[in-house]
């Protein structure tokens, strides 16, 4: 599937939406408007957008604690997202989940996850459904480098491989599991090597190159749909912000952060689009304006929305 000009512009706009959404969340976190914690996706936008562009609406994703980008890339409603972050009744989870549990199962988003690696076996389960119901769908399973050292990573990739489950495992390697650097937590330098022991293809890709990610996921997804099994894709990228609200970032240098900021995935894609003359300066300004408006609308919607009533406190522990 080749992307046309409009597809590319949509992807750019989506990356920018994630960036601006997260900047607003950062602001709310520092003001205390958001009372819980939040894990920002700034710097890693290319992965979610490149990967989700490669799948269809009816396909599934599983996400992580750093999940806002995946939600937006999967087509989430910004109003409902912002409402959830503000703990409002109109949020995706009616204020019961918050940042780490945004889900919209009906549109294929099986949920963010507060446990590192927690979504990986769930993705396998969605893969079982697809296979048993012969749906020809695919599951994108996002997780960070930290999750690669969880036991469920091993159990899940092995199961997906022996059962040829239609899952694309996407590791967002931002080089730190909270403060623990990959060089401390892994003896191997290239995490994609892990794939070999499960008998599945392992690919390493520049996680700041949205088109390259798109291409790799297209290929992996088509393999999955053809019943040829899972793929492990490692996207090297970087989180610009701290792990969460309370991170003093003692484990990395300002210089390192600055180096990565120079490789901004959005600026890079913008330059590509300008060079190709798919975008003009005027158009980028228009897009910026539209994105900012959509974020402002989401904020307004969320702020005007009511908090959930205490009457809902004990509702929905069990399904009928």
């Amino acid at each position: 599937m080749t992307l046309n000009k409009n597809d590319l512009i949509r992807m750019y706009k989506q990356m920018l939406t994630i960036r601006r959404f997260e900047e607003k969340v950062a602001e709310f976190l520092s003001q205390g408007t958001i009372h819980g914690t939040g894990h920002l996706y700034i710097g890693e936008e290319a992965i979610a957008v490149g990967a989700c562009r490669a799948i269809e609406n009816e396909d599934y994703i599983t996400s992580t604690h750093r999940g806002h980008g995946h939600c937006i890339a999967k087509g989430a409603d910004l109003n409902k997202m912002m409402s959830e972050l503000l703990g409002k009744e109109t949020g995706y989870c009616r204020g019961k989940g918050g940042s780490m549990h945004i889900a919209d199962v009906e549109t294929g988003n099986l949920g963010a996850n507060g446990v590192v690696g927690g979504g990986i076996p769930i993705a396998c389960g969605a893969g079982i459904t697809i296979k048993m119901k012969k749906l020809k769908r695919v599951v994108l399973c996002f997780f960070g480098d930290g999750a690669v050292n969880q036991g469920v990573f091993h159990e899940s990739l092995n199961l997906a491989s022996v059962w040829d489950l239609p899952v694309v495992f996407i590791c967002e390697n931002n080089f730190y599991a909270m403060s623990t650097a990959t060089k401390i937590a892994f003896k191997i330098k290239d995490l994609s090597l892990r794939a070999a022991s499960y008998g599945m293809p392992g690919v390493k890709v520049d996680g700041n190159d949205v088109l390259k990610i798109y291409e790799e996921v297209i290929e992996a997804a088509s393999r999955a749909r053809e019943d040829k099994g899972p793929t492990f894709i490692v996207c090297d990228s970087y989180r610009w912000k701290g792990h969460s609200r309370s991170d003093a970032e003692r484990y990395r240098t300002k210089k390192e952060v600055m180096e990565w900021k120079k490789r901004c995935p959005i600026e890079r894609f913008k330059k590509y689009l300008l060079d190709k003359r798919y975008l003009t300066r005027e158009m980028t300004e228009q897009i910026e304006w539209e994105v900012n408006l959509s974020i402002q609308e989401a904020v307004d919607f969320a702020q005007k929305s009511p908090f959930p009533s205490l009457k809902t406190l004990e509702q929905d522990v069990y399904a009928n």
Binding site: G111, G118, C124, M132
Partner: protein
């Protein structure tokens, strides 16, 4: 009504067979459940009947067994996962407690996880500390899980069918010593609802609430006690979550005495929960003597036969506790 004699094992198998025939979304997965038929033979023969797509042998990976069951339940299937020994649910605990139990609530009621986790608990087979635990108390503590513990073939069949049709994660706790127990059950299809206890024996002097294999021991003890002139009413809650407290309360109001018997360690065991709930109810005013619990020692299950028996309540222990309470 035509009946047929089934073992507990066969009753479970019939439930699985009926539900798989009824609903194509129902499937099984677990370790050695296919050609081997499960460590305790429950699924023997189902592979031939339903094929490897629906009777899935998994690698030895409890976390992904639980998690994949969850993920497929979330997307429209009704998996029945088997965990070979109840002790091994601890290996899949993140997926059970942090994920499956919470999704419905955490997602604002907008998704559900209709899955069953079948697992045999209990001691008495000489398998020692890592294959003999009764961990239902841990599970009952977790909002979002349902916990079912049948004590006889009739209940095993009807409750498993209801569990499979339930839209929540249900942990279905079988007991190794019960698998070969026999009973006449209706030939015709039937269900036993979750959250409904059963009076297994009517009596007037003492209410005895027993769980799982303790129901069998309590029934034997009650026969002997009857000869001594002590009339025991035995209630099997059958499901711990949700708990049919009403039936226990009504019985206590009649007998004025309550003894709770379970195999799990006494400390933090489900008996403490039943005791508290009865004390907090209006049944408290009807009690003539304090409620007593008879439960497993607060120790890992030991190996040597005498020690193993000594670790959990036996028929004689029930006799002793009942006499003390009535005397």
């Amino acid at each position: 009504m035509p009946t047929v004699e089934l073992t507990y094992r066969e009753a479970l198998r019939r439930a699985l067979r009926e539900e798989m025939a009824r609903d194509e979304n129902v499937y099984m997965m677990g370790e050695d459940i296919a050609i081997y038929g499960g460590a305790f033979g429950v699924s023997l023969g189902l592979l031939e009947e339903f094929g490897p797509e629906r009777i899935k042998d998994t690698p030895l990976s409890e976390s992904v067994i639980v998690g994949a069951a969850l993920g497929s339940a979330l997307t429209g299937m009704r998996p029945v996962a088997e965990i070979m020994f109840m002790d091994f649910i601890t290996i899949g605990m993140d997926q059970l407690i942090n994920q499956a139990a919470k999704i419905h609530y955490m997602y604002g009621g907008k998704a559900c996880v209709p899955m069953v986790l079948r697992t045999p608990g209990g001691s008495g087979t000489g398998a020692a500390a890592q294959h003999s635990q009764s961990l239902e108390g841990l599970l009952c503590h977790i909002p979002g899980l349902k916990v079912v513990m049948p004590s006889c073939p009739y209940d095993a069949l009807g409750l498993l069918k209801s569990s499979i049709r339930d839209n929540n994660p249900v942990v279905f706790v079988e007991h190794k010593l019960l698998y070969s127990g026999r009973e006449l059950v209706p030939e015709k299809e039937y269900l036993v609802p979750l959250g409904k206890s059963e009076v297994k024996r009517e009596g007037t002097d003492l209410t005895l609430v027993a769980l799982s294999v303790m129901v069998v021991r309590a029934l034997k003890a009650a026969d002997k006690l009857a000869q001594e002139g002590i009339s025991v009413e035995i209630i099997d809650p059958r499901t711990l979550v949700p708990l049919d407290l009403e039936a226990i309360i009504n019985s206590v109001k009649k007998t004025h005495r309550l003894l709770i018997v379970h195999e799990a360690c006494k400390r933090g065991g489900f008996g403490a929960e039943i005791l508290s709930q009865v004390e907090e109810s209006d049944a408290f005013d009807y009690l003539d003597v304090p409620i007593r619990r008879l439960a497993g020692s607060n120790i890992p299950i030991p190996y040597s036969p005498g020690l193993e028996k000594g670790a959990v309540p036996q028929e004689d222990d029930i006799l002793g506790a009942a006499r003390k309470l009535v005397g």
